[in-house]
């Protein structure tokens, strides 16, 4: 394989597109210096090759991954593709080329130079998805359950099954502000689409009441004598707080709550 250190592959940004880059490289027996999404605006002196996405070629690569490495390996690189790892395309590329040679062993090589960066990134992705299964907060806006999240990794595909099944009969919407994507769920089915911008509608009185009660619950459940902000931040990093109801002050309460009197939270 020739190391084409002056060649950049451009692909369409899809997983199948990346698979086609693998196909292209095997076919031409070369290793590109970088794999980039089209139109990412970076001027460069490199030679470029635009790789067209072709479903049947992508499928052949996927089959090869299953045959030559393992089924898990295909799931693993699909996940790796969702992470926010820099240059993930080339890292996945290198991992797969190595895997085609070594077979299933490459999946076990957690400390190896190809596997290790992806392994760490996938762990972070899984971790973020697990956290968000808990931290997503819906608002009932006219019968639709609406939520906004700002994850580092592109977790929507990992959240889809969970939320669509859990809220089978509800209409749900989760907007990923970081990646400008939206998950829509109805009747147990979900789909993900691009959405440039989104601002949730104003909450009605019932919704405000629920937010307020949740905040009151949240404040009351903590034991003063055990106050431990570092422990809380360790489990629930601050970057999630902005989208969580329990930390909203002004979006919760109309004026009359302040008259709480003897049931004031301070007690």
């Amino acid at each position: 394989m020739s190391d084409r250190s002056n060649m950049i592959y451009f692909y369409d940004g899809s997983f199948d597109g990346l698979m086609c880059c693998i196909f292209e490289s095997v076919y031409r027996n070369e290793r590109p210096a970088a794999i980039r999404e089209q139109n990412d605006g970076q001027e460069s002196l490199f030679e470029a090759r635009t790789v067209e996405t072709d479903e049947s070629r992508a499928q052949r690569v996927k089959d090869a991954i299953k045959d030559k490495i393992s089924k898990n390996a295909l799931n693993f690189v699909k996940k790796a593709f969702l992470t926010c790892l820099e240059d993930k395309e080339l890292l996945i590329f290198d991992f797969l080329r190595d895997g085609f040679k070594r077979g299933w062993l490459s999946m076990n090589d957690i400390t190896g130079r190809y596997m290790q960066p992806l392994y760490t990134a996938v762990r972070a992705l899984d971790n973020e998805a697990e956290l968000l299964k808990g931290f997503v907060r819906f608002s009932d806006l006219g019968g639709v359950l609406v939520s906004v999240i700002e994850p580092k990794n592109y977790v929507l595909p990992l959240l889809m099954g969970h939320f669509c099944a859990r809220f089978h009969d509800e209409s749900i919407m989760i907007y990923d502000k970081t990646h400008h994507m939206v998950l829509l769920g109805q009747n147990g089915q979900g789909k993900i689409a691009y959405l440039d911008e989104f601002t949730p509608a104003e909450a009605d009185a019932r919704e405000l009441e629920m937010r307020r009660m949740w905040k009151h619950f949240y404040d009351a459940i903590a034991i003063k004598e055990r106050y431990n902000p570092r422990c809380r931040m360790g489990h629930m990093p601050k970057r999630y707080w902005a989208n969580m109801t329990e930390f909203w002050e002004e979006r919760c309460a109309p004026a009359e709550v302040e008259q709480g009197g003897r049931f004031a939270i301070a007690d």
Binding site: I110, R137, D140, A165, H168, I221, I223, R226, H235, M244
Partner: protein
Amino acid sequence: MTTDEKLQILTDAAKYDVACTSSGVTRGGKKGSIGSASPAGCCHSFAADGRCVTLLKVLMSNACSYECAYCVNRRSNDVPRATFSPRELADLTIEFYRRNYIEGLFVSSAVIGNADYTTERMIECLRILREEYRFRGYIHAKAIPGTDEALLTRLGYLADRMSVNIELPSENSLKLLAPDKTKTAILSPMGQLKEQIKENREDLVLYRSTPSFVPAGQSTQMIIGATPETDFQILNLAEGLYKKYDLKRVFFSAYIPVVEGRNLPSLLTKPPLLREHRLYQADWLLRFYGFRASELLDEEHQSFNPYVDPKCTWALNHPDFFPVEINRADYEALLRVPGIGVKSAQRIIVARRVGSLDFEDMKKLGVVMKRAQFFITCRGRTLEGLSLRREYVMRSLMSVDTAKQLEMPEMEQLSLFNGEEYTKCLTGQI
């Protein structure tokens, strides 16, 4: 009184209950219903005290007719009282659940009149959730000691997990502080639940459509530090409970003085948080690391070491077990090394199938080298340049916080371990 006001009173009254887990049951979502449950559970938030918030943890009522000395809800205490109606609590649970605030409901209650009436109200709330809303989320219900067996059974078919609080670690303490509760009254529902869970599991094997009874098992909790029991006694009690009653979890709760009483520690007592922490560490060693209680504490050593955790203490007392060779040792031996946990041990097993591992791989596998360095070899060698200076070793084995609290000169004077054992461990074998 509005639901909001009741919620605040009844949350405040329930906050000392420790158990807040939603694990141990698998139930997918379904058409025509709401909710699901997964075996690992899910934390939805973390309170300002750092504790996980997963369930809507409230009391049905705090209007108690009992007089337990340590309890904030005791009859004679002057606090605002409130009671949810079963439907009110069920509706609130669903509204919170739809917004993904919670994973389900944790319902407990003060004794309203008598145990049976209290349980009936809890059953009604759970019935509305399960039958009317077809709620498939998680429900943890507390069994009130003294409840009729048939009612307890009914509750068990609606809940995922049940718990009976053992409250205090010995019968004497119970007599002293909770005169309305007896050891038998607490242990008999525990025994009943255990039997019924066992029968139900057998029935489920034979008939798939059998409704499941307390599928996530039962747990209990006890208060630490209100009474004179030692760590040794408490840990043995916990181990006994795991074995005898097949408990899923035993929770410990550091005593926080909320009321004054002549048999109680003074209101100025600080909650023994470190002690509670050590007990949990030991509890994990029992459940996931293959330790027995008798290995961690014995008649001569009745309390946990305040400076280093139980696993380090064990390791320092067993120099003959170490060093452990990373590339050869079996899983059980890896688990005994301080700094290696369940996940990193599993990763070591996977990764060493590819090739032999060296020290630089350890960090990548999630091993905490700060602690593990003294106890392992890779390819037969110890870590190059490993310092065995006593202060260095001690500081490495302590948590960051503990080390910070202690000035180094003081540490040298600490006689945590007798000199001989220490030398054997750190020079002889490693």
